[in-house]
């Protein structure tokens, strides 16, 4: 307990940073759930592909430590573009291949989960076997730096050196911490505005509220669903960049645990609710850190899940309740 009080600032800042990443991934779950009432189990792989795109783009352009401010901004911007494009693409692909055929056949929801699990396996294994797969096309030597040690961690070339900006309670809050927290929250606000202001956003809300009525009103459901996956994917791509800046490497199976955490965050905040995802992610990130400080790091994940159960007991629809439809600006 004393430890928690003494290091409250450090635990809070780092918890916020990882929580912000959870939030951004959680958005994808929440979005798809809100519109399709479906747990997009493969969303974790969307994140993973984004993280690889970000790493590779830095490798391609030769990002290195100690670049000038302008260079660093350029590199990070490229990372965002690459990761968001890749994640968005993969998300739309998942929708197209794994979900739309089922929707057309009116399959029961459970089977969609199986399809999603299948898609998840396929995506992560493809990444984990990229050396072999590149080898089929004779590309493994050309792509050597990108396919080496397919099953291993792949580091992001370090482009930002963390530097203390200011300190609270003896903890140096670094530039990376600030960038991750502020950036992620800014993304969420932008998304919130998009959903409440834009025509597409209204379409999403309409489908979430009442698919049939929305169809009657001329909303193209398939298009809305595609946009939903795309937006969720793009956010996961952004999350991947923030994650890389904070953690520093990725792996073909990195999505699984993060996905479980992010899904927990989505449910914690109230699945289907955008602001719930934000709040859920941050609460989860903080709870993990405080919990680790109180009962030991080895119980970190246990703390997260116990918190979830406790909150669901008292607020059965999550902290902020569900419904994408009702999310107001």
């Amino acid at each position: 307990m004393q430890f928690l009080i003494d290091n409250f600032a450090a635990l809070t800042v780092t918890g916020l940073a990882i929580g912000a990443v959870y939030s951004l991934i959680a958005l994808g779950y929440t979005f798809v759930y809100g519109v399709l009432r479906l747990i997009n189990f493969a969303h974790s792989e969307v994140f993973m592909y984004g993280s690889f795109a970000a790493v590779w783009v830095v490798m391609v352009i030769g990002g290195h430590p100690g670049g000038s401010i302008g260079q660093v901004i350029f590199w990070v911007a490229l990372m965002f573009v690459a990761a968001m494009a890749m994640s968005g693409l993969v998300a739309v692909l998942i929708e197209r291949v794994a979900y739309r055929p089922l929707r057309k056949r009116n399959a029961p929801p459970l089977i969609a989960l199986i399809s999603a699990i299948g898609a998840s396996f396929v995506l992560s294994e493809t990444m984990g076997l990229r050396e072999k797969i590149a080898g089929w096309f004779g590309l493994d030597d050309t792509l050597r730096p990108y396919v080496n040690n397919s099953r291993n961690n792949v580091p992001l070339p370090s482009i930002i050196k963390p530097q203390g900006v200011f300190s609270i309670q003896g903890y140096e809050v670094t530039n990376v911490d600030i960038f991750v927290i502020v950036g992620a929250i800014a993304m969420m606000i932008m998304l919130d505005q998009f959903v409440s202001r834009s025509r597409l956003g209204r379409g999403i809300r309409a489908v979430a509220m009442d698919p049939e009525a929305a169809a009657l009103m001329g909303v193209n459901r398939d298009r809305v669903i595609r946009v939903t996956f795309l937006v969720g994917g793009v956010m996961a791509g952004a999350a991947a960049v923030f994650y890389l800046l904070k953690i520093g490497s990725t792996r073909y199976d990195v999505g699984f645990i993060l996905g479980v955490k992010a899904f927990t965050a989505a449910v914690l905040g109230g699945i289907g609710n955008l602001r719930g995802a934000l709040l859920g992610g941050i609460v989860l990130g903080l709870a993990e850190n405080y919990g680790s400080a109180l009962v030991g790091t080895e119980w970190k994940d246990v703390v997260a899940f116990v918190l979830l159960v406790v909150i669901l007991l008292f607020r059965p629809t999550g902290l902020l309740g569900e419904s994408l439809g009702k999310a107001r600006a």
């Binding site: 635990l11 918890g15 050597r144 961690n153 070339p157 520093g248 490497s249 850190n289 680790s292 970190k300």
Partner: protein, 380 residues
């Protein structure tokens, strides 16, 4: 009733067919050939470990070493090659027993390199033991494995009980740490090792923490370390987590020495931790690679990367078995051959004591300097 007959016919036919086809075996002399006779070809050695799945890294490093040894052998014995039989357990103790049984049932398999992990070892060794199949593990370091009385158990590397005290000694005497912090990854290997280090360091340990394999965010642990004012951190675990941990420690301003063990001794640790890896001390019960530069070179030529964790041990374990095959040993006579083996390998002098442990294990300290793992001498 007629339909009943129709159905019954196939069964009857099947029964007749079985009855007519005869029997084999059942007499007193075993079918498999005895030792010393004509040279038996197309024999196999087994590679038992995770080759696919989430823990495949280590298994593949070992398999690479084994393959290299096989290449060497087959180049010299082109007329009578030895094949590799893979038993891919995925590191899963659930799958291990059936695979072990399958290896035992394949009469051509003379010996096994593996199992790679301690968990699957516990599941598979009882079967190997009952079938008198030699299994040389190149990587399972749990000391208790040798205490089960398995006569076929051999370990091609030092166990945690030799490495742990050496690591503690290094932290005390060479790093001269007064405030060490000990972290483990709750795995059988990492925790076992860290507990030995904790015991040996005694009261000077300023803090302990346990993380989990596959964890990526270590912020709570980092806070604990920095808050404790530790001047050295010992981490018991594998390289993926070690790389992330030291990176996050350095990012948070940790200035002390990072000490790890053989589970981290591979290039991917340096690739991932980059600058943060500099100065890391790695203990390892393995002879420095400059002892066997040819192995280093051959490995790099074949697999386009440097030898990784336990590749050398895999090579050595396979070499022992292959040498035995070269001398005409079969499964039954292999046990004595391995027991009395005494040759220089790429990692150490290959010789086993009565319990099957590597005799004469020396623990060396290595240091990461300019992105390379260099030896800084034996820990005595």
């Amino acid at each position: 009733m007629r339909s009943t007959l129709k159905l019954a016919v196939p069964f009857a036919v099947a029964a007749l067919a079985l009855g007519a086809c005869g029997t084999k075996g059942g007499d007193t002399t075993p079918a498999a050939g005895g030792s010393g006779g004509a040279k038996v070809c197309d024999q196999k050695i087994g590679m038992f470990g995770a080759l696919t799945g989430p823990n495949a890294n280590l298994g593949i490093y070992i398999q690479n070493g084994v393959n290299l040894a096989l290449d060497d052998y087959n180049a010299k014995h082109a007329d009578c090659k030895v094949a590799l039989a893979n038993y891919d357990s995925q590191g899963d103790p659930t799958q291990a027993p059936a695979l072990a049984k399958s290896a035992i049932d394949d009469k051509k398999v003379v010996g096994i390199v593996g199992p790679a992990f301690s968990g699957e070892s516990k599941a598979a060794y009882p079967l190997f033991n009952e079938a008198s199949m030699v299994a040389i593990t190149p990587s399972a370091t749990n000391p208790a494995l040798a205490d089960n009385g398995w006569k076929v158990f051999f370990r091609a590397l030092g166990n945690d009980a030799t490495q742990g005290p050496a690591a503690a000694k290094y932290i005390k005497d060479t790093v001269k740490s007064t405030k060490p912090f000990v972290i483990d990854d709750a795995s059988e290997y990492g925790k076992g090792l860290a507990d030995i280090v904790r015991k040996d360091l005694g009261t000077s340990v300023v803090g302990n923490d346990t993380v989990q394999v596959k964890q990526t965010d270590f912020s709570a642990t980092v806070t604990k370390v920095t808050a404790s004012g530790a001047d050295a951190v010992f981490y018991g675990g594998y390289s993926p987590e070690a790389a992330l941990l030291i990176k996050q420690l350095r990012d948070a301003g940790f200035k002390g020495t990072f000490v790890v063990a053989d589970g981290v001794k591979d290039q991917s640790y340096i690739d991932n931790a980059k600058a943060a890896a500099e100065g890391t001390i790695i203990t390892c019960p393995c002879v420095p690679p400059d002892v066997a530069p040819e192995f280093q070179k051959a490995y790099k030529a074949k697999f386009k990367e440097d030898p990784n964790t336990y590749s050398g041990e895999g090579y050595d374990a396979a070499t022992i078995l292959l040498d035995g095959i070269g001398e005409g040993k079969d499964r039954a006579s292999m046990l004595d051959y391995v027991k009395n083996f005494d040759k220089k390998g790429v990692t150490k002098q290959l010789k086993f004591d009565a319990k099957g442990e590597s005799a004469d294990v020396k623990v060396f300290a290595y240091k990461v300097e300019d992105g390379k793992i260099v030896s800084v001498g034996e820990i005595k």
